[in-house]
């Protein structure tokens, strides 16, 4: 079952301007891989070439930051909403 993935404004240009898209996968990594298959311009925007989550990106499964779950290997049941947001910081 596909899950909803909410995209931050800065990435919507790579997904036809949509704010929420559907993607398939049983883990967060699979969902993000499916997202790149659908929208190739998202390649490298969320996950690095080495396969790790970008430092300045936060990914949530519902209300939980995946860094405090099983990171990209976090399992999904299909009922969740995934949110991708930029980390906002400065001095």
């Amino acid at each position: 079952m596909p899950v909803d993935v909410r995209l931050p404004t800065v990435l919507r240009q790579y997904a036809g301007g949509q704010s929420t898209v559907k993607a398939n996968g049983t883990t967060v990594r699979e969902v993000l891989d499916d997202l790149v298959l659908q929208f190739p311009q998202l390649q490298g925007q969320v996950v690095t070439e080495e396969g790790a989550l970008h430092k300045f990106v936060n990914v949530y499964v519902d209300d939980d930051d995946i860094r405090y779950l099983d990171k990209l290997d976090t399992l999904l049941s299909g009922a969740e909403t995934i949110s991708i947001l930029p980390a906002v910081a400065g001095g």
Binding site: T9, D63, P86, A87, V88, G90, G91
Partner: protein, 135 residues
């Protein structure tokens, strides 16, 4: 130009006062693609510092959802400078996440807080006027 409602502006500056002596931060939301901030979302500064800030990611998520529920989106971020001029630091520029956002700084260098807003596109900083709507 960045426009803020009087309520959003007052809430932003009040949050910056409340956080002293630490830096405050928060998000501004309005109609998609607009330069009109209708709402201020106070966010925690998880860096808990007088020199740097990191928007509490969970507060960001909640603000983003609430803005969307109102048909809006996050259009900018604000933070305070507790002692220095209201100009983006190299860290602000390096970490600016979205070229469409407005980057607002509230400075307490002087007695009266100074509010300035900038666009940051590919490392280039451009100041823009800030207008507060009449009540």
């Amino acid at each position: 130009m960045l426009r803020l409602t009087a309520a959003a502006y007052a809430d932003m500056v009040a949050h910056c006062y409340d956080a002293l002596p630490l830096e405050a931060c928060g998000l501004l939301a309005g109609p998609a693609g607009s330069s009109h901030a209708l709402a201020c979302y106070r966010c925690g500064n998880v860096a808990a510092s007088s020199r740097v800030y990191t928007v509490d990611p969970l507060h960001h998520l909640r603000a983003d959802r609430d803005a969307e529920a109102h048909g809006h989106e996050v259009i900018g971020v604000f933070h305070s400078h507790t002692h220095t001029e209201p100009y983006p630091s190299p860290t602000d520029v390096a970490q600016a996440p979205d070229p469409d956002w407005h980057y607002v700084i509230v400075s307490f260098r002087d007695e009266v807080p100074m509010t300035r807003s900038y666009r940051i596109v590919e490392g280039q900083i451009t100041e823009e006027p800030v207008v507060v709507d009449a009540r």
